[in-house]
């Protein structure tokens, strides 16, 4: 076996265990997605029954990106400035259970509200993908909106601003 003369000049490749806090950023760079997934100062936690189904739902249907997925009971997603934490209640460590044993659950009515350009088109596309909605498009003051459900039954509001929205909302 002959060795190339240049081999002597090549630097050895040493596998390095990345520090945990940089691992997610490195992974995204390796995957070629360029800029690290980061957001602003808004953070929301949702409880989900099935983490795989939730991550797939938010990333495939609503343009979220996965930033961290360190355990079977937790994931951190981003969409713009929104950081969405997905937690599976009542995991082995009893994470998020209350001192009296109450276990959190998905559902309720409080929700993130995502702006879309064309609500009718978006709803049609999501319905074709099998996404469930709690209602039909409702028209309010300066906004049209609809409530969809993630696989665990958590509500997500989609809205499209209408005339007068910007003067009122900003």
């Amino acid at each position: 076996m002959t060795s190339e003369p240049l081999d002597a000049l090549r630097l050895p490749i040493v596998p390095v265990e990345p520090r945990r806090e940089f691992a997610a950023v490195l992974l995204r760079r390796i995957e070629g997605s360029g800029e690290p997934v980061t957001g602003g100062t808004a953070s929301v936690r949702y409880f989900v029954d099935d983490l795989d189904a939730a991550v797939a739902f938010y990333c495939d249907n609503l343009e979220f990106e996965t930033a961290l997925r360190p355990s079977p009971a937790f994931a951190m997603l981003y969409r713009g400035d929104l950081r969405l934490l997905l937690s599976v209640p009542g995991g082995p460590s009893g994470s998020h259970s209350l001192p009296d044993g109450t276990v959190p659950e998905p559902g309720g009515w409080n929700r993130i509200s995502l702006q879309v350009h064309d609500l009718v088109d978006t709803v049609e596309a999501l319905r074709r993908k099998g996404v469930r909605f709690r209602n039909d498009i409702a028209t309010g003051v300066g906004v049209r909106l609809v409530l969809l459900q993630d696989p665990s039954g958590n509500p997500v509001e989609l809205f499209e601003p209408t005339a007068g929205y910007h003067e009122r909302a900003r």
């Binding site: 100062t41 001192p99 993130i112 509200s113």
Partner: protein, 137 residues
């Protein structure tokens, strides 16, 4: 300008405005209707709506077509970062705020679950690892 929007259903919009603005550093953007207000804190816009009838001009907190009414509560929540959780909790307790639990230390954060006057949860957290910190502050 806030870029992220969250809607909370509350029983009493005025009481909610006093709570979020008076205790948690939100600012009121608008309160054009007794059943509706919009607050802001950093990148978060918090839209407060109280349950309304099907014919109300507001669209966000009407009942569903099957008659189900929207209501406060549940477990999903906004998360607000504070620099010193112990001090924040003590100050809030001093103001009569109610909590669902005591401070819990997790993997990346210390956290606690506060309740607004309608019983909606608000998670307060103090990062104990760098990646748990909210970025671009």
């Amino acid at each position: 300008m806030s870029t992220v929007s969250v809607r909370y259903i509350v029983d009493d919009v005025d009481a909610a405005i006093a709570f979020y603005c008076g205790r948690l550093g939100f600012q009121e953007l608008m309160h054009p209707d007794p059943a509706f207000a919009m607050l802001t804190r950093g990148d978060l816009r918090l839209v407060l709506g109280s349950p309304i009838g099907p014919d109300h001009r507001g669209g966000g907190s009407r009942p569903m077509p099957d008659g189900r009414k929207q209501e406060p509560g549940g477990w999903n929540r906004i998360m607000l970062e504070v620099p010193d959780l112990g001090a924040a909790v003590e100050a809030l307790r001093g103001q009569g705020a109610s909590f669902r639990n005591d401070i819990v230390t997790g993997v990346g954060v210390k956290q606690i679950l506060l309740e607004d006057p309608s019983g909606n949860p608000v998670e307060l957290f103090e990062p104990i690892r760098p990646e748990a910190r909210l970025e671009n502050r």
